[in-house]
């Protein structure tokens, strides 16, 4: 008797958790197929908003810009970050601890502060607001996440691996290329994915440093939503959701194969 009750309670509880997590997303998906002009009223199934989306040049351009920016910024963040993480881990230099500490503060620093700071910096340098300012900004806020991820991974590795490579005659370059990089492999990929995600949906920092010449998707959506949530926004969200799902499933499959 008690067992059955326990089971029912557990099931109800997990159902509630899933409902809480996924109902909002489900609503977005369902309403993206809504015929009505206004989000809140269901008038029947239609692909109208998807059609409109495909023909909306501004949104397509913004999407392309976001993907490009995400790709370039996370790649450069991973390149710089892997060097930085290895430096902090392996070499003793003046200010190493300070640098390490600062990296952690950058992870928790409010986006607002970061946005304003970058804006002021770009004003003084000067970097024109547009692609380059966004690129530098995104690289900057992704970098600490990459460093933290990779540094943690390096910490898990047996330090004797590096020492025995040196012992066997490896130069610093061979050590980095043949031992450190391959062992960091999975962490490199996951930190790249993390950066890409951060970059794709960043609104606050981008809001400060974006210029009129280079529109990106999150800002575009943000602008659209201010005049009310249109079904078109629901449609974009659904597409993004679809890609994310594909991505996650793909990544899981690849990992399982290994």
């Amino acid at each position: 008797m008690i067992k059955i009750n326990e089971k029912i309670i557990t099931n109800c509880f997990s159902f509630l958790i899933y409902a809480f997590l996924y109902i909002p997303i489900l609503v977005v998906v369902v309403y993206s197929f809504n015929k009505s002009q206004f989000s809140m009223i269901w008038e029947g199934f239609s692909l109208k908003w998807y059609r409109e989306l495909i023909n909306d040049h501004e949104i397509l351009t913004a999407t392309w810009h976001s993907l490009l920016l995400g790709f370039l910024a996370s790649t450069s963040a991973v390149l710089l970050g892997s060097l930085a993480a290895v430096c902090i881990k392996r070499y003793k230099f003046q200010g190493r601890k300070l640098l390490h500490g600062l990296v952690f503060t950058l992870v928790v620093i409010p986006d607002l502060v970061m946005g304003i700071a970058l804006l002021i910096l770009f004003h003084f340098l000067p970097v024109p607001l547009g692609f380059w300012s966004l690129f530098f900004a995104h690289t900057t806020f992704c970098l600490p996440f990459v460093i933290v991820t990779l540094h943690a991974r390096l910490g898990q590795l047996d330090k004797h691996l590096f020492e025995s490579a040196k012992d066997l005659g490896a130069s610093e370059f061979v050590l980095f290329r043949q031992i450190i990089l391959p062992l960091l492999g999975p962490a490199l990929i996951s930190s790249w994915l993390l950066s890409f995600t951060l970059s794709i949906d960043d609104v606050i920092i981008s809001y400060f440093v974006a210029g009129p010449s280079f529109e990106i998707l999150p800002l575009k959506i943000y602008a659209m939503v201010r005049t009310g949530v249109t079904p078109e926004v629901n449609a974009i969200s659904t597409i993004i959701l679809g890609f994310t799902l594909l991505f996650v499933v793909g990544a899981t499959l690849i990992r399982r194969k290994k």
């Binding site: 047996d158 004797h160 691996l161 020492e163 025995s164 490579a165 040196k166 012992d167 066997l168 005659g169 490896a170 130069s171 061979v174 043949q178 031992i179 391959p182 062992l183 492999g185």
Partner: protein, 364 residues
């Protein structure tokens, strides 16, 4: 007189306030199997890391073949290290692990293949060359680690507790294999261990360390039979330590007052009359007689059996000396003396052949 292959002169190394090695001198001969033995934290690993080039001494010099290599980085030293954790590269096959050092030194492909295969054969792993390290057992990994080091033909091989991760049986087997390998290759091994039995059975020479200093260095037999300090005596094997007072010391003999008996031992070392000393006897050198078995008890010490531990081929006795310490004695079953039967609380006499004891100056 041959020149040492590796020599440490006045090496001092501190980590912050803690002095890990103090004014240490050590010379290792070519082809020697040298074991460094000492308690945890005494500086063994630090000593090895200095030789490997992973740490720099605060003062002092290290020589290999007479050349000062104190400031040379590890990749330029003709020594290789086998780490306790093996440190095999997990993403490379066994072949590539072993080939790594040769590739780093720019040796050509054909020669690499030949030498790696030859070395894998030496450690009987030729069938495993395409596996990854995580597909091998502990003992196999251990052998790969050794192969990876010896394939470079180093002048000296440094091994930091290479067997401590293995279970007892495999450990015994690897001890024999390592020793044979060392003989066959004629390499110099510097081997660290916690395990005194391992040290005694494998080495040409044992170095005993404590607190960053070398206390004694000698053949296993010397170290065991003639320890030069209380620490060495108690660290290697078991030792019964009596406090005694010198009553007379001549060129050949020393007479001691121990446990209210006055006994003369053949001991050429000179002591002052009235000096306090330690008298050390190994358990297996003690004979334990029951009251009935002996008549003349002049040079025997009286005691009472507290515990009898049967160990198959031996019997360990814990005996409380009258007004004195607990001692332990190991009695062997043999043809002549089959009567190894003692009862708890039985009165017994302890005796040993004069000359089998060690007399050391008193240490606080």
């Amino acid at each position: 007189m041959h020149n040492p292959i590796i020599e440490l002169k006045n090496i001092t190394k501190a980590f912050g306030q803690h002095i890990a090695l103090q004014e240490l001198n050590l010379a290792v001969n070519n082809g020697e199997f040298l074991t460094i033995l000492g308690p945890s934290g005494c500086g063994k690993t630090t000593l090895l890391r200095l030789m490997g080039g992973f740490e720099q001494p605060d003062s002092g010099h290290i020589f290999i073949d007479g050349y000062d290599i104190t400031n040379l980085p590890p990749e330029e030293r003709l020594v290789n290290t086998v780490f306790q954790s093996y440190a095999l590269f997990p993403h490379m096959t066994i072949f590539n692990n072993v080939a790594f050092g040769l590739k780093c030194n720019g040796i050509d492909k054909n020669e690499i293949k030949e030498r790696v295969e030859e070395t894998l054969k030496i450690v009987s792993l030729e069938k495993y060359s395409e596996r990854k390290p995580n597909e091998l057992s502990g003992g196999q990994k251990q052998r790969v680690a050794i192969a990876r080091a010896i394939v470079n033909r180093p002048r000296v091989l440094l091994l930091d507790e290479p067997l401590s991760a293995l279970d007892y049986k495999l450990r015994k087997k690897m001890q024999i294999e390592l020793k044979q390998l060392q003989r066959r290759l004629g390499l110099t091994f510097i081997f660290i261990t916690h395990d005194q039995e391992e040290a005694l059975s494998m080495s040409d020479r044992v170095v005993i360390m404590n607190d960053g200093k070398i206390l004694q260095s000698g053949t296993p037999r010397d170290i065991y039979e003639e320890p030069n300090s209380l620490f060495a005596a108690e660290f290697i094997g078991e030792a019964n330590v009596f406090d005694a007072i010198v009553t007379e010391s001549t060129k050949q003999n020393t007479t001691l007052k121990v446990q209210n008996k006055t006994i003369t031992f053949p001991e050429p070392k000179q002591f002052k009359a009235g000096e306090k000393v330690h008298l050390i006897v190994r358990p297996e050198d003690l004979r334990v007689w029951t009251e009935k078995e002996v008549k003349n008890t002049d040079d025997m010490l009286p005691g009472q059996v507290e515990q009898v531990i049967y160990k198959g081929s031996t019997v360990d006795l814990i005996v409380r000396l009258i007004d004195g310490p607990l001692i332990s004695a190991t009695e062997f079953f043999d043809e002549d003396d089959e009567d190894l039967f003692y009862e708890n609380g039985e009165k017994v006499w302890i005796h040993w052949l004069p000359g089998w004891e060690v007399i050391l100056p008193y240490e606080g």
